[in-house]
């Protein structure tokens, strides 16, 4: 008799029961509860990751390794030729000032773009007396550009132990050794003269007709100016509107040639009432003349 089933064919498998077992059903339900789900999918992994990273970093050797690694990468990026700055160009400065700026900036070229602080450089250069304004621009792969605006020297201020060059606003530009070095600049003296440089400039401008005789201006009591001419002649100017007073003196000069006479001091401190102080010879002469008029003097 033939066997019902051949030996090679296995018995048909028992049909799979689609029903979940009690345990898998319960686990499924627990898994579907929102709190547990959030804990397992979010809280536990994040805690694990943060904890592991913290554990890894807490070792000081590894911290050093990590720092070295970061430093390597940053330096390799900084050292790239695209970020190198090889030179510095200074425009608008005299050679002397340019040298001073170069000394002041203290950058060893070539330098990386990351190592340069334009704001810092600008602050340093602006600290120089002779510099009115500076614009610092950095070109990538190029140069450090400094566009300098120099202060214009306007006057020379003679003080007790020094000669200083000031600009229009009264800021010191430089110390100089000799007055002869800049004979084109007018001279001012007196304490507090630097605070009124602008006024002095207008006075110098007004005094142009007597320029050949002008020696300089002297600040008196930090409030008013004296105009000093050669032959020690002095014009004392008021605090208010000194230029008007000076122009009035110049008008008197034009009309009566007052400055060429023996008058050491013309006092304009009260503009309403100009006073002239005569020299000793002139007084003697005046007295003599008056005596003659009265017939008192003898020939």
């Amino acid at each position: 008799m033939q066997p019902l089933r051949r030996a090679g064919i296995p018995a048909p498998e028992v049909r799979h029961d689609p029903a979940p077992s009690r345990i898998s059903y319960r686990l499924n339900r627990i898994w579907l509860s929102p709190v547990l789900r959030r804990i397992i999918t979010f809280v536990v992994p994040s805690v694990l990751v943060i904890g592991l990273i913290g554990l890894y970093i807490s070792n000081p050797n590894r911290q050093a390794v990590l720092r070295g690694w970061v430093a390597d990468i940053t330096s390799s990026i900084e050292a790239r030729p695209e970020f190198q700055i090889r030179q510095m160009s200074i425009t608008g400065a005299s050679p002397v000032l340019a040298n001073a700026i170069r000394e002041r900036v203290e950058v060893d070229f070539p330098v990386s773009w990351f190592r340069i602080e334009p704001a810092d450089i600008q602050a340093r250069i602006a600290g120089l007396d002779a510099v009115a304004d500076v614009q610092v621009t950095v070109e990538l792969g190029g140069a450090l550009n400094l566009r300098v605006t120099e202060r214009e020297p306007a006057v020379i201020w003679r003080r007790a132990f020094s000669l200083e060059m000031l600009d229009e606003t009264g800021v010191r530009i430089a110390y100089i050794d000799r007055r002869d070095g800049r004979p084109d600049l007018p001279l001012i003296t007196g304490d507090g003269a630097d605070a009124a440089v602008f006024e002095a400039m207008t006075l110098f401008e007004a005094a142009a007709p007597i320029n050949d005789r002008l020696r300089g201006l002297t600040r008196r009591g930090e409030r008013r100016w004296d105009v000093v001419l050669d032959r020690d002649q002095v014009i004392q100017l008021p605090e208010q509107e000194p230029r008007v007073a000076l122009e009035r003196v110049l008008a008197m000069q034009a009309a009566q040639d007052i400055l060429n006479r023996d008058i050491p001091v013309i006092d304009m401190r009260d503009p309403e009432r100009p006073i002239v102080r005569l020299g000793t010879e002139a007084i003697d002469y005046l007295r003599l003349t008056r005596a003659f008029e009265k017939g008192l003097a003898k020939k």
Partner: protein, 443 residues
């Protein structure tokens, strides 16, 4: 009746809690399939605009998970093998949870078996020309005489269907009206207690909390009938696999429910026996080739029967479709005649309208409407469940009427008599006595 009150009230509390949480599972335990729908309640959305109203409360919820599986261990809508039924419930609940991606803790269950029987109750109280308050309603509901339903029976539904104030009847809500005597008609549906206990136990074993129970005859009526049919009077016949549920609605309330313990499975059994083929094949032939009205063409339509007995003659048979119809038709006729009997007992012919709606899985047999019209009356139509939001296309057939109806029931439950506070007449006397006792002890 009071312990049942307690359980039903407890279930109502759980249902409220579940609605608060917003997630409820609907579990329809049938004889051939178990269906689970996961409902998400979004609260009252109000008017949806463009003339669309709240749509009978359907817009309140959305089905976010649905699963169906073959029921196991069930017979005539009752649990026969607890472990098997439990497995089926676990399968279907897990699948629905997987689709919904949410865990459900509360389930509302409907079942078809347990020999439901309807009782009509009447109660009356005197209200002395006062305004009817809610406690009066509770009082009149409590005054109904409890019929003798038997010690092994339990009350599944107890719904007030009508109120009458003096001689004015047909009130749906008597509160605020003034009269002398308040009368109510209550419909009470009793089922076998052990069957309900088994179902409770089964749900408990699946780690779910029961938030409500309903008869599937009732809930499939809610889903398959349109509102005016429920208002004017109609019967819904739910042709299931193991049982056929009958429910009669009038004025929007169920007034009668019953089941016939024959269903589609018996048709398959007849085919299996008559043709000598396995049950699965019989079921398949029934669903693919079945019919109820034979025509001349059906004699030439041959159906191949396969078999594995080894007898070539037996395994290679062919039958004509008219033979199959000849087997199926008597059984369906029997079912419908049983239904006719129940309807006659219930006095269905006295209703103002005799509309009959056929639904359930077995109602898909071609030609059923014609056959039912001959037995039950002309006014017959085939009913499908209402469309609700999120219901998968696969679950829109007539076999899912009770599941859909149960979701509607869950969102809009009918007032049951245990929703009202029971008026305890002895309460003032007792508390007075307690006060006197307290005084005596302390002074």
């Amino acid at each position: 009746m009071s312990d049942l009150y307690e359980t039903q009230r407890g279930m109502r509390q759980i249902r409220k809690a579940a609605m608060q949480r917003g997630i409820v599972a609907i579990l329809d335990l049938g004889t051939s399939k178990a269906t689970c729908l996961v409902l998400r309640f979004d609260g009252d959305v109000g008017d949806m605009g463009d003339g669309v109203g709240p749509m009978a409360g359907q817009s309140q919820f959305r089905i976010i998970g649905a699963a169906t599986t073959r029921a196991r261990g069930m017979r005539h809508g009752e649990i026969e093998v607890m472990q098997e039924t439990e497995r089926a419930v676990r399968t279907v609940v897990q699948a629905a949870q997987k689709m919904a991606q949410v865990r459900v803790d509360h389930a509302i269950v409907s079942f078809s078996g347990a020999n439901p029987r309807s009782y009509g109750l009447t109660g009356e109280i005197d209200i002395n020309g006062q305004e009817v308050t809610e406690s009066d309603v509770a009082g009149v509901l409590g005054s109904c005489d409890m019929p003798d339903i038997g010690s092994h029976r339990a009350v599944l539904h107890a719904q007030p269907v009508n109120f009458a104030l003096d001689h004015r009847s047909g009130l749906s809500d008597p509160r605020g009206q003034i009269g002398n005597s308040l009368t109510t008609d209550m419909h009470l549906l009793a089922v076998d207690r052990d069957v309900v206990r088994n179902i409770l136990h089964c749900i408990k074993r699946c780690d779910l909390e029961l938030a409500g129970l309903a008869s599937s005859a009732y809930v499939s009526g809610i889903a398959a009938m349109v509102e005016d049919e429920q208002k004017l009077g109609a019967a819904c016949i739910d042709l299931g696999a193991g049982t056929t549920g009958v429910s009669i609605f009038l004025r929007g309330h169920m007034i009668y429910a019953d089941t016939v313990r024959i269903g589609g499975l018996h048709v398959s059994q007849d085919i299996s026996r008559g043709l000598g083929i396995p049950m699965t094949l019989a079921e398949r032939i029934k669903t693919v080739h079945g019919g109820l009205v034979a025509t001349g063409r059906d004699d030439r339509d041959m159906i191949e029967l396969s078999g594995e007995t080894g007898d070539w003659e037996h395994d290679r048979r062919e039958i004509s479709r008219s033979e199959l119809i000849g087997i199926m038709r008597p059984r369906v006729e029997e079912i419908l005649e049983e239904v006719r009997e129940r309807l006659d007992v219930a006095g269905f012919d006295d209703l103002p309208s005799q509309k009959i709606v056929l639904t359930g899985g077995a109602s898909q047999v071609p030609g059923l409407a014609g056959l039912a019209a001959r037995i039950l009356g002309q006014n017959v139509r085939l009913g499908r469940p209402l469309r609700v939001q999120g219901l998968p296309q696969a679950a829109t057939g007539p076999g899912f009427s009770s599941a859909v109806g149960l979701s509607l029931f869950a969102s809009h439950p009918q007032d049951e008599c245990w929703d009202f506070e029971i008026r305890d007449g002895r309460y003032p006397a007792r508390s007075l006595r307690r006060a006197v006792k307290w005084f005596k002890e302390n002074w």
